[in-house]
């Protein structure tokens, strides 16, 4: 299922400033895109447009079009969009229904809305609890959890619906390193099964491992649209954008090694662990 955005601009109600400016963007079926950019750049706003929150929840002033699976989101009611597009919100607390007493009921509630029968519902909830390794939270109240546990439940409540397009807004902000890695791997697994992924993130070191495509937003505009490899392998490509995002940690290290005459660039900068290990073990003494 693809996403087509045509000349989209958006102004929040009561504001004069365009939060998005003339966005043209096509995301193909099965792509894995990451939205990067500073605070206030427009990452969440772009997520809202893809998920129908704009225009259905945030009214504002909108120009241009957003098509999901060739259907205009303006014409589709939110409860229809939800069946195609799953949206993990930036603040997990806002994801919870507010009406359920246990984590199990919270997740089952997601499926009730899709009209899924009881047996399948139970099976799917159990499956997602195990996948996210939060089975022990099954009978706990969603409001008596730690921040990170609540974020895991919020993610589960969307994944359990098995959407064809998954939009995640800084989904791992409160997760410990192992849980964070678990979520990135599960998202990659879904992507391998054909799910289209759009994720807004600050964690650049994780993103270069998983995403096919980086969309850098600055002041409501997409200023860069390329693969992580292309962006970071040569510094010349990245140079223009140092004010808007930091490079992966290995690029930074390699640049310093280069300056100090300890390493020479041949195939570009290493962007992940394996590449870095290979590059820096090359010396005869190791």
């Amino acid at each position: 299922m693809g996403i087509n955005i045509k000349d989209l601009s958006f102004i929040y109600p009561g504001s004069e400033k365009k939060a998005l400016k003339n966005i043209d963007l096509n995301i193909g079926d099965g792509e894995f895109c990451c939205i990067l950019g500073k605070n206030l750049a427009g990452k969440s706003t772009l997520c809202y447009t893809i998920t129908g929150f704009i225009p259905h929840f945030f009214k504002g002033k909108i120009e241009g079009k957003v098509l999901i699976d060739d259907l205009d989101t303006t014409d589709l009611p939110l409860h229809k969009i939800v069946t195609k597009v799953g949206f993990v919100l930036q603040n997990p607390f806002n994801q919870l229904s507010g009406s359920k007493f246990t984590v199990f009921e919270e997740l089952a509630f997601s499926l009730e809305n899709l009209g899924i029968f009881r047996n399948e519902m139970i099976e799917r909830v159990e499956e997602i609890l195990k996948k996210l390794k939060i089975y022990d939270l099954k009978h706990r109240s969603p409001y008596e959890l730690s921040g990170g546990q609540q974020q895991m439940v919020a993610i589960a409540s969307i994944l359990v619906m098995k959407p064809k397009i998954l939009v995640l807004d800084e989904p791992t902000s409160q997760l410990d390193p192992v849980n964070s890695k678990l979520i990135f791997s599960l998202v990659e697994e879904l992507n391998n099964d054909g799910v289209t992924i759009v994720i807004a993130e600050h964690k650049i070191d994780e993103i270069v491992e998983f995403a096919d495509r980086i969309l850098l937003i600055e002041d409501g505009k997409i200023v860069l649209d390329d693969s992580p490899n292309e962006v970071f392998k040569t510094f010349s490509k990245y140079k223009k954008y140092t004010k808007y995002m930091r490079p992966p940690c290995f690029v930074k290290l390699a640049q310093r090694m280069e300056r100090e005459g300890l390493w020479k660039k041949n195939n570009g900068y290493p962007i992940n662990f394996e590449q870095a290990k290979k590059e820096f073990s090359k010396r005869p003494t190791i």
């Binding site: 605070n39 930036q90 410990d176 390193p177 964070s180 600050h202 300890l262």
Partner: protein, 268 residues
């Protein structure tokens, strides 16, 4: 006299959940301590005992020799400032300015002193231009700064930051690091909870690892990042640069790029 002394602390939530299972901890004046560990391990529950938001089920918590069970939250707030993991639980006023003014007024600062602190802290936390806005209308990372500022205006000697970096971009994280260094220079005692071990190593040399309601390790990061068994137990992964150093045969995990380069030179 330690700034904070925790003895045999156990805590059980009203639901019956045993969150802390025997914690002993001593934090000295002007220290910077980082608390790390698995989601749900008890980090937030532990630090909420330092300003009396929670009282021990058993055991003792002493702040500057005062047993927290004998003092109210309001009294402890003069000494200990806790900044919530979710800033939305902390903000309740109509404007950012009122939010920043509330604390100092409440603990008896004069009108003039309050006003000058609000100005100073608003500038220090980059929210001066937000003072007349409603905090509910702000972006999450701005709420995080407002929550920090509304505690700093009270000038507490001990500050607890519960995951202050979660929705900050790289510039915001750098500003946080600068702020924490500045506070340490002015002799504050700082306790920071975070999952970002890289950020953690920039602000502290003492990592307290909490696992299943107990303290598993309390050591400098160099020692923590090589304890593979304990890292697994606490759902932690050492950061990429230290991991790279170890895999290249360095004796110790390099904490910074500078460390890495020095150890790399030594190897040849």
């Amino acid at each position: 006299m330690p700034k904070i002394l925790v003895e045999k602390l156990k805590f059980t939530y009203p639901s019956g959940l045993k969150a802390l299972k025997g914690i002993d901890l001593k934090i000295e004046d002007s220290e910077s301590v980082v608390i790390i560990g698995e989601n749900g391990s008890g980090k937030t529950t532990l630090v909420k005992h330092f300003n009396g938001l929670l009282k021990p089920t058993s055991g003792q918590v002493w702040i500057e020799n005062k047993n927290t069970k004998d003092y109210s939250i309001a009294e402890l707030s003069k000494t200990v400032g806790y900044i919530f993991q979710n800033p939305e639980q902390q903000l309740f006023k109509e404007t950012v300015r009122e939010e920043l003014t509330f604390g100092p007024k409440n603990i008896g600062f004069s009108g003039n002193k309050t006003k000058s602190r609000v100005e100073k802290i608003a500038k220090m936390t980059n929210i001066y231009n937000l003072l007349d806005l409603n905090p509910r209308r702000l972006n999450f990372f701005q709420k995080q700064w407002v929550a920090i500022a509304s505690i700093l205006t009270m000038d507490p000697k001990i500050l607890i930051l519960d995951e202050p970096n979660t929705s900050q971009d790289f510039l915001g994280v750098n500003k946080l690091i600068d702020l924490i260094k500045h506070l340490l220079k002015s002799k504050k005692t700082l306790i920071t909870i975070t999952h970002d071990l890289n950020f953690a190593s920039k602000i502290s040399n003492r990592f307290v690892v909490v696992s299943d309601g107990k303290i598993l390790l309390d050591d400098p990061p160099q020692n923590i990042f090589v304890r593979q068994k304990e890292l697994v137990q606490a759902n932690l992964i050492s950061p990429p640069i230290p991991r790279l150093g170890i895999s290249l045969g360095f004796k110790y995990p390099p904490i910074s790029n500078k460390d890495f380069i020095n150890m790399y030179r030594e190897l040849r």
